[in-house]
């Protein structure tokens, strides 16, 4: 195990800190009665954690593909289960995204959540802990515990604070995702019995027999495809996204969906490379279906949240497409798209939350014609909409460009269909923007965004432009890890 790790050289275990600070904050909430104090403490916890995670970026060494900031302690000796943490180029930005979004989620729920504030903040912080844990874990069991533990607060977020159909949406979400992960557990045990340890890096690139890889890949892929969600497994997503409270939707769209594509990059490709190559054509076809189908479904939506939810299906299609081209450009594009989708879709959900707080409707018709009434809001909304269909100069353009380069270099026909999907994306986002901005003549008086709302959207604007105009620091940081993945994969081609 040690040979895969660069041990943590900071004076404190930084990864454990980022995982457990939110948890500690959540426990602290129990002892506080005052509602406002609860919100402030949740916010402070989130901000502190974000600042600490910035240290990760500062001290990250982009010249190695090994796992950095490693921590490694025996946990359950009998079965060689370790408390092993470490991050590489793939996970660094996903963690930063999570820690960035958590305080924003607290802020966006400041007034939107009126009842059971304490429990709500508790769930948010618990989610943050579990999500960071998923990205940091280098031990299968540790990973699986975080992976499943994530479901419980998410379920509660939808089930308690959700919209009118929260009951249906929450239970569907829970059962759907759980049924995928149970087979993940079986696959994990199979890998463990073959390699003799639960270490994730240790299980990579071992050249197992093809039949073994075939079944393990399938078990992995179902769990991850449900999380992504890929085309035939996407049906939980619109319900859950639509009914969840704003903060829940943001977490779902921005981080939870990334778990699936992260799973493909971290588990499927390195552990079962031969099977990944074997199944790649099927996955590519499913991704293309997701891109085009998601786009066309979006055209007919009347509910803003539902539309954005389906657009996530299409966007995540680009991510899986990029991964299964097995090219450096594809991988880079996929990873950038994961981040970009997290930022842009998160921002769009935040925007919908802002308008929902004022009009109490998510219907496009009820919210149309806001251009004159809420100019500042329309500015933000328009900006993020442009970013969502990959307007040049925004973050999604860079990501999609990388994915398309990767796709064309490996398969021209797939590239062609992906382009069609990108066009449809422009159509539905512009349609939405048109309706919301101009839609109808209206003289309603709705208050424009307040300072708090502007504050939590601004960081996202910065990121949209930063990645869109100057992606080099991001690409540079992730490249070494992905290059290693490409070279290892080529051994099996």
């Amino acid at each position: 195990m040690e040979q895969y790790l660069v041990m943590n050289k900071l004076s404190f275990p930084i990864l454990s800190a980022t995982i457990f600070i939110p948890l500690a904050g959540a426990c602290l909430l129990f002892f506080i009665k005052h509602e406002r104090a609860v919100k402030v403490i949740a916010l402070i916890t989130g901000i502190i954690n974000f600042l600490i995670s910035l240290l990760l970026y500062a001290h990250f060494n982009p010249d190695t593909y090994l796992f950095q900031f490693g921590e490694y302690k025996p946990w359950i000796p009998g079965h060689s289960i370790y408390y092993a943490l470490g991050i590489d180029g793939i996970t660094l930005f996903l963690i930063l995204l999570t820690t960035l979004l958590a305080p924003l989620c607290v802020l966006c729920s400041w007034t939107a959540i009126a009842q059971r504030v304490k429990e709500f903040m508790f769930c948010i912080l618990l989610m943050e802990s579990a999500m960071i844990g998923v990205f940091c874990s280098l031990d299968f069991i540790l990973f699986y515990i975080f992976w499943e533990a994530m479901l419980i607060p998410m379920y509660l977020l939808i089930a308690i604070w959700g919209g009118p159909q929260k009951d249906y949406a929450s239970i569907k979400f829970f059962i759907y995702t759980l049924s995928g992960s149970v087979f993940l557990l079986v696959a994990i045990i199979a890998v463990y019995l073959t390699t003799g340890s639960f270490s994730i890096p240790n299980a990579m690139y071992r050249g197992y027999g093809f039949t073994f890889e075939y079944w393990v890949f399938l078990a992995f892929a179902i769990a991850f495809a449900i999380k992504v969600p890929m085309f035939p497994f996407h049906t939980w997503l619109p319900a859950a996204h639509t009914e969840a409270p704003t903060a829940g939707s943001v977490f779902l769209a921005s981080v939870l969906l990334k778990m699936g594509s992260y799973g493909f990059l971290r588990f499927c490709l390195p552990i079962t490379p031969k099977a990944s190559l074997f199944f790649a054509p099927y996955i590519i076809v499913l991704s293309l279906i997701a891109i085009i189908y998601g786009g066309f479904v979006c055209l007919r939506q009347t509910d803003m949240k539902r539309l954005i939810a389906f657009s996530s299906v299409a966007h995540m299609g680009f991510v899986t497409l990029g991964i299964f081209t097995f090219t450096l450009f594809g991988f880079q594009g996929a990873l950038l798209q994961m981040l970009n989708h997290g930022i842009t879709t998160g921002a769009l959900f935040l925007c919908v939350g802002i308008i929902y707080e004022r009009t109490h409707s998510r219907e496009i018709f009820d919210n149309s014609g806001l251009g004159k009434i809420m100019p500042v809001y329309m500015g933000f909304f328009g900006f993020f909409s442009l970013s969502a269909f990959a307007f040049p100069g925004t973050n999604n353009f860079v990501g999609e460009l990388y994915v398309l380069i990767g796709t064309f270099s490996s398969n021209k026909i797939a590239g062609f269909f992906a382009i069609v999907g990108a066009l449809v994306a422009a159509a539905y986002m512009l349609l939405l923007l048109k309706r919301i901005a101009w839609g109808r003549d209206d003289t309603r008086s709705i208050k424009d965004m307040n300072v708090r709302e502007i504050i939590y959207l601004l960081p996202l604007v910065v990121f949209v432009l930063w990645v869109g105009l100057f992606p080099k620091p991001f690409v540079h940081t992730i490249t070494k890890t992905l290059e290693h993945l490409v070279t290892e994969m080529q051994r099996f081609m």
């Binding site: 000796p77 079965h79 069991i141 308690i160 829970f174 049924s179 149970v182 045990i189």
Partner: protein, 464 residues
């Protein structure tokens, strides 16, 4: 002094006997609570005793002593949970305690018995006490009688079958001592007679564990018996049954595949049947009965591995099962009005009425479903690993599918108490004792999930 926990339990039974004869019954409940806590302490203090008694028919070793601690802890929790709820008429409480003590005594003797006749004796001491207290219930008039009759008949039949199997064992091995049987039996395990004897002998314990074809009593008994009796029957005899299953199957480590196949089929049927029928239950106690049938199937996964690791995981799982099952039943006890059964609808709005109780229920439901970071997951992981290591992939996959099926009804418990809004939001006041018990449950369920090594460290030395 080797018999300290048993002697103490007998002393308890006698004390309660005298109380029941006497006229003053004021503080029976408080007295019982104190004495039962003392019982746990005494069993803990005798955990490292070692020795043999009665010409080798009775063995005191770490295995039996740990199980005695579990039994004493379960007994203590049952007594504490009973509290002051008036579902059993007050004048019978002393008798009720007495029979509970006798039953626990029988089970304690059972886990130490290594000879067929003392096994039968201990098992019957425990069962007969339960036959008597089953009809003790104030609320409904009819159900508990049906329950007690069913329990009696099924119990008697399964004891009969077990004796039949033991007769064969004696016939083959010419001895009733397990140590002798271990020496002779493996030669006969390739023949039908050996397998038949073993499987028939197991029946008596599979009945207590409510595995599939021997499960018919459990839903009706759970539903009909008073909550306190249910909490006892649902957990404590299962612990002892698991212990005996381990003792007996460890005689058959070199068994031919057919024995494993029989157990595997039973386990698969038990899980699938329990979970499928569990889906449609409305009464929480019935639901837990079917969940118990399914869990018996999970436990069999460890037994059929026929390995040391499998036994270890069974011990772990039965321990966590004790806590999570009792935690679920505790909600029923606290929620029930006048001792009546609680349906799923009765849970509506629980998270507003009593957040702590709702959280306890949620923790135990997630644990029963096997979701990390609860002990239920860790236990199931151990079971899966031990069955998988012996190459029984099929049963592992069936177990995984069953986990998915079962999540629906466990989640229903959480869903009802959290996401459904009820009309009546009368707050449910928990006493200080109730709060402490809830916290104990939550602590153990989470602790066994996150730091299993501390428990495993102890269990590792006890199994064979």
């Amino acid at each position: 002094m080797l018999l300290l926990p048993e002697l103490y339990m007998m002393l308890l039974a006698i004390i309660f006997l005298f109380i029941s004869i006497g006229k003053r019954k004021g503080n029976v409940v408080a007295c019982g609570q104190l004495l039962s806590i003392l019982g746990v302490v005494i069993s803990l203090s005798s955990i490292f005793f070692k020795g043999e008694l009665f010409y080798g028919a009775y063995r005191v070793d770490l295995f039996s002593q740990v199980f005695k601690v579990l039994l004493a802890a379960g007994y203590c929790l049952v007594i504490l949970m009973l509290g002051s709820k008036d579902e059993i008429e007050h004048e019978y409480i002393a008798e009720f305690y007495m029979f509970l003590s006798f039953s626990t005594l029988g089970l304690m003797m059972l886990v130490s018995s290594v000879e067929l006749i003392s096994i039968v004796l201990s098992l019957e001491i425990s069962s007969y006490s339960l036959y008597v207290i089953l009809p003790l219930r104030r609320a409904q008039v009819q159900v508990q009688h049906e329950a007690s009759i069913k329990y009696l008949f099924f119990g008697a039949i399964s004891s009969g079958i077990m004796l039949y199997g033991m007769g064969y064992l004696y016939g083959i091995c010419h001895s009733t001592f397990l140590t002798d049987i271990i020496r002779v039996l493996p030669k006969f395990l390739n023949q039908p007679i050996g397998i038949l004897a073993l499987v028939l002998t197991l029946t008596g314990f599979l009945f207590k564990l409510s595995l599939f074809p021997f499960h018919f009593w459990s839903p009706d008994v759970y539903e009909g018996a008073s909550h306190s009796t249910t909490t006892f029957i649902a957990t404590i005899p299962k612990i002892a049954a698991a212990a005996l299953l381990i003792r007996i199957t460890s005689m058959a480590y070199l068994a031919p595949p057919v024995l494993v196949q029989i157990l595997m089929v039973l386990a698969a049927l038990s899980m699938t049947f329990g979970n499928l029928v569990g889906l449609v239950q409305r009464d929480i106690k019935r639901l837990l009965a079917y969940s118990g049938i399914a869990h018996a199937g999970y436990i069999m996964m460890g037994i059929l591995a026929l390995s040391r690791e499998g036994n270890l995981s069974v011990v772990y799982y039965i321990t966590i099962y004790l806590f999570m099952n009792l935690a679920c039943l505790y909600t029923v006890i606290l929620l029930s009005k006048d001792g009546e059964n609680v349906t799923l609808d009765g849970l509506i709005g629980l998270s507003k009425r009593s957040p702590l109780l709702a959280f306890t229920l949620a923790t135990s439901a997630f644990s029963l479903a096997g979701i990390p970071p609860t002990g239920g997951f860790t236990g199931k992981l151990y079971l899966f690993i031990s069955a998988f290591r012996e190459g029984y992939l099929t049963i592992v996959i069936i177990g995984a599918v069953n986990t998915v099926i079962s999540i629906f009804y466990y989640l229903n418990l959480v869903r009802m108490s959290y996401s459904k809004e009820g009309n009546s939001v009368t707050p449910l006041k928990l006493s200080g004792m109730a709060k402490i018990i809830c916290l104990i449950f939550i602590f153990f369920i989470l602790a066994m999930g996150v730091t299993p090594s501390s428990f495993m460290g102890l269990f590792k030395h006890m199994v064979f």
